[in-house]
Amino acid sequence: MYEVIVIGGGHAGCEASLACSRLSHKTLLITGNINNIADMPCNPSIGGSAKGIVVREIDALGGEMGIIADNSHLQIKMLNSKKGPGVRSLRCQADKTTYPENMLKSLKSEQNLDLKEDLVKELIVENNIIKGVITESNERILSKKVIITTGTYLNSDILRGHNKVKGGPHGEKSSLYLSDSMKSLGLTMRRLKTGTPPRVLKDTINYEECQEEKGDEKLLSFSNFFKPVYNIESQHSCFLTYTNQTTHKIILENLDKCALYSGLIVGVGPRYCPSVEDKIVKFRDKERHQIFLEPERENGNEIYVGGFSTTMPEEIQEKLIHSMEGLHNAKITKYGYAIEYDAIESTELQMTLETKKIKGLYTAGQINGTSGYEEAAAQGLIAGINASLSLKGLEPLILKRNEAYIGVLIDDLINKGITEPYRLLTSRAEFRLLLRHDNADIRLTEIGRKIGLINDEKYNIFQNKLKNIKELEEYLTSNKILNTKENNDYLTNIGTTPLDGKISAIELLKRPEVKIRDIEYILKEQFDPTAKEQVEIKVKYKGYIDKTEKEVEKMLNLEKKKLPLNINYNNVKNIATEARQKLETVRPLTIGQASRISGVNPSDITMLLVYLKKEFPHE
């Protein structure tokens, strides 16, 4: 008898099993192929805009992805480094061999975690409470909680040209029966689609014709706690090439041959990650599209053709690839394809990622309609944590929109529902200035510690960081800078007005022209780098941070207005039919949550408030 069973060994499944086993629950991870654990079937990168911050958050809560990525990358860079602090985000090119190897090591080192190679065909449920699973080899395994993290494997079809074959990514088996078992329990499922581009042989690319994209020349890490250890010089490069008129012509002439436009695909694909066919058809006027050539492995010979996801038949893919600069003689090692899979309607879930209908059953990752390794890992971690908290009889962990991108992600899933695979974007976070890369630990480490996933080593490092920040603030407040000639010459030189009298260092830092490195220079000091960054952001962006805090306050006020659990939306007069249906499906807990449901408009909220005032005057 296990306490938790996790179905699926992808990024969500790994985080969920690690969280549960580390929180001392006897856990079983069932997956189709143990050698395929933590596989990256699509792009060879981790992080990116918003997603990089999610990895920092996972790390701050005590998850594994950040540490593994730090130990397994070929290149790392800070995106948006020239923009404001609210939008900086890390992205690395992860090694598709070492990342899964390192993750498997972590899993195997957990005493409470067993791994099992099998597929689950059925859920055992009694009185709407989960009791365990039945595998395809007809084994009945009982448990108190089940977390489903099947990714794109649920009832999946691989599509290329006019061919449609049952199967998961790169030749793995599809999970054929679990989806039906879920449907029979009354859970609503929907069909989604995603795709992947071809891979080409490294040595057949003419790099002279491409533009080189190097990693940053500064040591960077996803981990909030551990210093990066890699050699900046030995990072691998990516390369950039473009589609051209010939490429576009081939696509337009062969549209009827691809799975996407031949009517073979019924699932909805992501708009923000379109296939190259879509790009050409929908943006006909664009002369060229960027194509990124990304290394997949340190010891491997494959290059990922980023931005070229396609469902064309193989011979057309050959022609297309060869039409582009640098790829005229490239040899394709794997052809691009689309994959269609079953996902659960995300409005079936509670904010804890437990299903509303089956107690003890959680779902996380792509099965919930998201895309991306990072979004999956984040959900896996939250589902794992909440399964554990529930086993221990503790309050669940629900991160708010002002606390974490993970909070934004789950809140969107549950309230907005999904029409296409969901990807996190910075624009989805209305309080993104608070949800920064640099303060992920300050936001979340205490939470991770309380849950029990932050060990003493990490916690001490964190405490030390806080101490350094506090000390630096105090130092800058109490230290005065004098109007000496030397100081004033320096200040004039950096384009700010000289001092009349003495001024505290922190006051001087408030001037837009003055950077903290100028203060260091004037005071002839070297500050701790992380403390320095925090203090500078706090001082420089105070105005905007305050504004955002005010907005947060408004949101939290709406969150305080609770909706009665027994409310019958059919009795609420004059709300739009769509709003009524959505409210009935989601059954929001607060007015704030109700106002974020898509299809519920301000006028509906007004009418809802009118109804509440009338019917529940004392609540």
Binding site: K286, S427, N574
Partner: protein, 451 residues
């Protein structure tokens, strides 16, 4: 919320046809009880039905009854309109019958309120209609009409669309930093766009001030010592225009002497008690009030007797006019003049002999000139006219200026997006599409909701 309301929808008085409008869940049932003709509960929506309104067996009037079924109606509820013959007693009788059979008399603006609450009108349109109901002059009525047709909403919507384009572009820059698809928004590029939006907002605000004048009129304070011709001036102004408006409202009730309409603009003439230093407490209050009136007037007409030298009191009055919009009326010019005109610099002077009816029209011409009233008459009225809207536009202008300034300082675009987003939200608030707590408070304070 649920009850059925009724009201006479046409102007009360003897006319060819009057309309009684009934709206609410039971409207068709109620009117059907009074109607002899087809069974109204069975006729299709949007039809006109011929018959009689009856009281028990007595035929009251021969009528046409229009049936509009929810949801495609003005209020979003079932609506019945009874077209009866004009005539006060007959119309009132029919209204009375609807009330006796379960309708409630509608409050002013209640039909539009329901239309708003049912999502048929946006807040701006609803407010415009409320303005229309209260419109004092023909110009104000025209202006309210503009609001209803949604021209204001359209202007605001256009601005919001522009902002949204900027926001979307900034977002793409952040989320796809390595893609060349979107224009990279630089401070220079943003400056161009923001300054354009800023100008539009400032224009709307400026015109809104005019809108306020059209809607509420100009407050004109009249000041002068006793016996300089204040009363004669008032009488002449009011007498000549022959348009004394009697429904005086609000705090100025005890001081407004009368109203006249000039080029379609209401001029509220306000007499002041005169400014005098006084020991008397009661009089002191009057003096305080006068000072307040002077401060709140759009224009001050100060009258002096030209045949006497300036007294200390006159000088006190002149002192109080500093930095205000003023017309000096120098009365009694038919007598030998004792005042040097230089004393009145920099104000414009109109020389009159009110008793001889000389110069009064010159005062009116001067008012037209000072407020461009000739222009207002011919202009397109796309103004925001109520206080809530104007204060929101003011906020927008302030914010747009802040954005403009911080952009000039080279603030990171993604930070400025925070303010651009707020501006977008604020504009939405004007037309009632943002969801805001304050907006709800506003709505709850304006409309009586709940029990």
């Amino acid at each position: 919320m649920n009850d059925t309301i009724a009201a006479i929808a046409t102007a009360v008085g003897n006319s060819a046809i009057n309309i009684i409008k009934v709206s609410g869940t039971n409207s068709i049932d109620i009117v059907n009880k009074l109607f002899k003709g087809k069974n109204l509960t069975e006729v299709p929506s949007h039809t006109i039905n011929y018959g009689y309104i009856i009281d028990k067996d007595e035929k009251i009037d021969e009528v046409l009854v229009s049936i509009f079924k929810s949801p495609n109606t003005y209020t979003g509820e079932d609506i019945v309109e009874i077209n009866c013959h004009g005539g006060v007693s007959c119309t009132n009788k029919i209204l009375e019958l609807t009330l006796n059979n379960g309708c409630r008399l509608a409050e002013p603006g209640e039909f539009i309120k329901r239309a708003f609450l049912n999502g048929k009108k946006d807040l701006l349109e609803a407010e415009s209609i409320a303005d229309l109901i209260n419109a004092k002059t023909e110009e104000a009525r025209k202006m309210s009409m503009k609001g209803i047709t949604g021209e204001l909403s359209k202007m605001i919507k256009t601005l919001r669309e522009k902002l949204l384009t900027i926001i979307a572009n900034i977002e793409v820059n952040i989320d796809y930093p390595e893609y060349e698809d979107a224009i990279v928004y630089t401070n220079e590029l943003l400056e161009e766009n923001i300054s354009e939006i800023k100008k539009s907002l400032e224009k709307i605000l400026k015109e809104s001030e005019k809108g306020r004048i059209i809607k509420d009129g100009l407050n004109i304070g009249i000041i002068g010592k006793p016996n300089v011709g204040k009363s004669s001036l008032l009488n002449h102004l009011l007498g000549e225009e022959k348009a004394i408006v009697t429904d005086i409202e609000g705090t100025t009730r005890d001081i407004v002497e009368g109203k006249i309409i000039l080029n379609g603009i209401t001029l509220n003439l306000i007499d002041t008690a005169g400014i005098r230093e006084t020991e008397n407490v009661v009089e002191q209050i009057g003096v305080e009030k006068s000072k307040k009136i002077l401060d709140e007037s759009d224009l001050i007409i100060a009258i002096f007797d030209g045949s006497r030298p300036l007294s200390e009191e006159d000088n006190k009055i002149l002192e109080s006019l500093k930095n205000k919009k003023v017309i000096i009326v120098l009365n009694k010019v038919d007598l030998p003049q004792m005042i040097d005109l230089k004393n009145f610099s920099p104000f414009s002077i109109v020389e009159t002999s009110i008793i001889n009816n000389k110069g009064v029209t010159d005062i009116l011409e001067k008012i037209k000139e000072l407020f461009n009233l000739n222009e207002i008459e011919n202009q397109d009225f796309t103004y925001l006219s109520n206080a809530r809207q104007i204060s929101l536009v003011k906020k927008c202008v302030v914010l747009a200026n802040e954005i403009y300034e911080s952009n000039k300082q080279g603030t990171e675009i993604d930070l400025m997006q925070i303010d651009i987003q707020s501006l977008w939200d604020l504009l939405g608030e004007i037309i009632g599409v943002s969801y805001k707590d304050e907006l709800l408070d506003e709505i709850f304070s304006k409309f009586c909701l709940g029990k």
